[in-house]
Symmetry: C2
């Protein structure tokens, strides 16, 4: 429209913070790539790209995630938009960050090799380009908030998991220990998990029952004003 034509136009990018959880190392990890264009070519970076003319921000995030991982229907949540004029030394670029939660085993190792991407534990991230370190720490805070109030943690776990594995995940995200009995009581009282007739026996002789998360229960409870609250301390 003509009235808008006098205003400045900007490059707009989306950067994806891709979180995965390593159930054996009990560590939250980030999928990082080596940047393919100048400036800062070859440096560790989040996976990002420019928003096309006829593409929504959400679709740009989905495209960037798919191009790297070949995954669709992944949990994606917008976290923050970074708009400082000099944040990218290449040009003025406004960037909206999204974080994704994926199951590490869903990514084919071949794909990873093809793209030169690597999983790095959030506790030991290499130097990242531009303001990507800030994007990661903001997204991690946001994840810490969301995991208290919504059942997003299950996106990071295999379909079946033990209660200890679920607690390990929460401790990895909160980056502190939480009380075991309180946690079990809270999560079981919400009635969102189904106990399976099968035990995990690698870590103890007695074994621990596997559970799975039933998203339909959460949906139907939420409609009735149910409040997910796992602010375990």
């Amino acid at each position: 429209m003509k009235v808008y034509s006098k205003f400045a136009r900007h490059l707009v990018a989306v950067d994806c913070i891709i979180f995965g959880y390593d159930i054996y190392e009990k560590a939250i990890k980030l999928l990082l790539v080596k940047r393919s264009i100048e400036p800062a070519k070859g440096k560790w970076s989040l996976s990002g790209g420019f928003v096309d003319e006829k593409e929504s921000l959400d679709n740009a995030a989905k495209r960037i995630l798919f191009d790297l991982t070949r995954l669709k229907n992944v949990f994606l949540s917008q976290s923050y938009t970074y708009g400082d004029v000099k944040r990218d030394p290449g040009a003025r670029v406004i960037s909206t960050a999204y974080f994704a939660l994926i199951k590490i085993r869903d990514i084919d190792n071949k794909i990873k090799k093809l793209n030169g991407a690597e999983w790095k534990p959030v506790s030991k991230i290499p130097a990242l380009i531009f303001d990507h370190q800030k994007m990661v720490s903001d997204a991690l805070s946001e994840l810490q908030n969301q995991i208290k109030a919504r059942p997003v943690g299950f996106e990071l776990l295999p379909e079946k998991f033990t209660l200890v594995q679920l607690q390990d995940l929460y401790e990895a995200i909160y980056q502190r220990e939480i009380d075991r009995r309180n946690f079990r009581r809270k999560i079981l009282s919400m009635n969102l998990l189904q106990q399976l007739n099968e035990k995990e026996k690698e870590t103890s002789r007695r074994g621990a029952y596997y559970y799975k998360f039933i998203p339909e229960r959460y949906k139907s409870f939420s409609k009735n004003g149910f409040n997910f609250n796992l602010d375990a301390s």
Copy 2:
């Protein structure tokens, strides 16, 4: 930089959700304007504008807020970026929303008249242009979350207030009643308020002590890992 030159450029706007609190009506209100340009000229709208070439998103939000209210140093928080291709019928515009918390009495009535702006209770908002209604409800959810975890509510109150007035504010934001004794106990135990030697006597004969919030205490407590938590129920 040359490598970026092939990518699309976008109009980027900032829209401000300006919240105020009416201590007498016990209502959260929004400062709305009538849109001055086509399309949708003359319709109720948030106060917004386009981001300049050499202006950060934060500075654009401050400028837009200042142009309307003549206020500086106002609480501003980015809430979400709206990136659907057809959200604005005038052109493809990506818009980042910020919400502001201001004391209603800080705004001169003359300025309001000059700009044709009006305070409307959030419970009775007129039809707004584009996706502005969604921006308001998202910002309100964000405010509900922030007010639990950070002392942002004081931005909306006069310098001195009674505990009942503070509770009224929380009830107006949560849009539900909260338990009076629990609330008083929680807020006083945080030791962030100073009781003044002065009473409010308009609403009861016995009167109620005024308090004020001491931001320095919050800053010094926060450094030592203090956790503001007013998740009163």
